[in-house]
């Protein structure tokens, strides 16, 4: 009803966008009603209201800032992108016109190519390839980082840990593009590794590391190595050393200590590291663009092309939303698998 009031001419195609703009405000209203109800029914004499705690000026300022962020920088753009993905591709003049109806064609196009009506194997393959490779890179980085994180958190002396930390922080701030560039210098046809291999007589012609996707794998792992390291280290660091001592005194072998004491305790760190690495790997642009060969397929790069080469924003939005859905699914699986709450995983 409300939407009809907003758009009395029955232009439902426009109102889908308006509805999405209204949605967060409806949620806020619902929570406000709930809060009022709770304040009225629960009598707590020590309780002070928001205004009593912050004063009028600051109270309003805080709310305005947070509303600006959560509404205009986070929720509304996301929702708007989702709505955009349910619209056809139109020239700017025809947007908001009668041809601007809701449609599923952008999502269908991932499965059935709109050009030749055949199965869209390229994009489907790229989608699953991206997810599988990102998961594999996540697992790889977990395996690479776990021993060092454990050593720094539990076994190393204070000086050692400080030095190692410094060694970790410095490369962390070298940006993604330059790190991809450095890997490319190593793996290129004229790069150091090929020089070494040919110098040692192992191969006659340079191996095409970039064309066979080795470069992309290495780049993805390399770029996200420290994203895995810090949450792991933080989680293991707070484990009481006495627990490990006790397990050792009771005769547990080292692998049992890790399996039954350290890893269960470090679960939030593992979940948080895995979540971040997966998300960054799946959403990565630099590694596939700069370290892939001409035949490298990466879903994010396809999305990128829809925006910058095909100028098909609705289809790009639909693909972006599918990527987001895949990331959310992965996060949910990780949280469920490790029985960790979201608040524990991201701190």
């Amino acid at each position: 009803m409300a939407l009809v009031l907003f758009f009395p001419k029955g232009r439902w195609h426009v109102s889908s966008r308006a509805f999405v703009i209204l949605l967060p405000f409806l949620v806020i209203a619902a929570f406000w009603v709930m809060a009022r109800y709770e304040a009225r029914t629960v009598h707590d004499p020590t309780h002070k209201s928001y205004w009593e705690r912050n004063g009028m000026v600051l109270g309003i300022l805080f709310i305005v800032l947070v509303a600006l962020w959560t509404l205009f920088l986070v929720t509304l753009p996301y929702l708007y992108m989702v709505v955009e993905s349910f619209h056809p591709r139109l020239p700017p003049m025809k947007r908001f016109g009668p041809e601007d109806y809701l449609t599923l064609e952008q999502y269908k196009s991932l499965f059935v190519s709109p050009v030749d009506k055949e199965w869209n194997t390229t994009h489907l393959y790229a989608f699953f390839y991206t997810i599988v490779v990102s998961s594999a890179v996540t697992f790889l980085n977990l395996c690479i980082c776990y021993p060092l994180a454990y050593f720094m958190a539990q076994a190393g002396s204070v000086q050692q840990v400080r030095l190692l930390m410094l060694g970790l922080i410095v490369p962390y701030w070298v940006n993604e593009i330059l790190r991809a560039f450095s890997i490319r210098l190593l793996l290129a046809a004229k790069g150091l590794i090929n020089q070494g291999l040919m110098g040692a007589g192992l191969t006659d012609a340079p191996i095409d590391f970039l064309g066979n996707n080795t470069g992309m794998w290495v780049g993805l792992s390399y770029a996200n190595l420290l994203i895995m390291m810090f949450p792991l280290y933080n989680a293991i660091e707070s484990l009481d050393k006495n627990q490990i001592e006790a397990a050792r005194d009771l005769g547990a072998p080292w692998w049992k200590i890790h399996r039954d004491v350290v890893i269960p305790y470090a679960k939030p760190g593992i979940a948080s590291g895995c979540t971040m690495v997966f998300m960054l790997a799946a959403g990565s642009l630099a590694a596939p663009l700069f370290l892939g060969g001409p035949n490298t397929l990466w879903f994010t790069a396809i999305v990128y092309d829809f925006f910058f080469q095909a100028f098909n924003w609705p289809r790009g939005s639909a693909y972006a939303f599918l990527l987001l859905a895949a990331c959310i699914t992965f996060v949910m699986i990780m949280l469920r698998l490790f029985k960790v709450k979201l608040g524990e995983a991201i701190r």
């Binding site: 300022l61 410095v170 450095s182 210098l185 998300m279 663009l289 925006f307 972006a320 979201l342």
Partner: protein
Amino acid sequence: MSSGFALRVMLGFYVCLFFMYLFGPLVVMGITAFNTPSYPQTIPFEGFTLDWFVKLYNHRQMREGLWNSIIIGIGVVALSVPIGLAASIIMNQIYHRARGLFYLVTVSPLLTPGVIIGISTVIFWKDAFGLTDFTKAVFYKGIILSILGQSSFVAAYCLLIIMARLTRFDRAQEEAALDLGATYPQVFLHVLLPFLRPALLSAAVIAFLSSFENYNTTTFAILADKTLVTVLAGEVRQGTTPALSALAVIIIGLSLLGAVVYEVLKRREERIASEMKERARLAERGETAPELFRPAAATA
């Protein structure tokens, strides 16, 4: 004993391997910045040169990009640190039922690929600013969209950093100041902000750096403009030149410097904090703490 020794050797080997993986590519790249051939090569080292730094300095687009990057970085700090502060204060006070949703909404940008943040920012603001010709002409610009897009997730970093300190704040201080007749803004300025100062500073630094480094969001949000990182990406895509290695050397040098300065500042802060605690402890015991402690502090 011998198995312990073997384990230690293996561990040392592993740590070496790890840091070789971490630093190896950077070192190789660093060497190419000083080598003469125009294809960035490490071996053979044909001659020492600083030409690539000069080339880098004369790269007009990169200088323009750097300028834009700095403006965007300042904008992001100015927007996201206050937002993070306000959000952490509200998060601390909010009802438990709404808290879950609030938390989910505020950390969701951290779980969203940067590409998607960039895309959604452009799509939304293109229509929002496009409502009138005036707003479109004034606000629909790469720099402004980049600030908006980056702030959406940088504010979440700030929230988490400030939150971590805010949870240790003793509300009694605030209550006491209020009871003594201070106004709310006075309490905020003279009690809460000084307490949060270290967290605010590190939030600002992290915000600037993550804005400066960002590629995935910016490449969409910057529209037709350029930042240092997008220029860099274009260069890497086109080909390879040792001038890029030179830039990397500068960045590594700066972050090394930054890390050292940070370490020194942190140590000083820790020392001051422990001195304060010690002083408070002595004062509580009724000993004449300040007089006893000051000479020791001066010599330390």
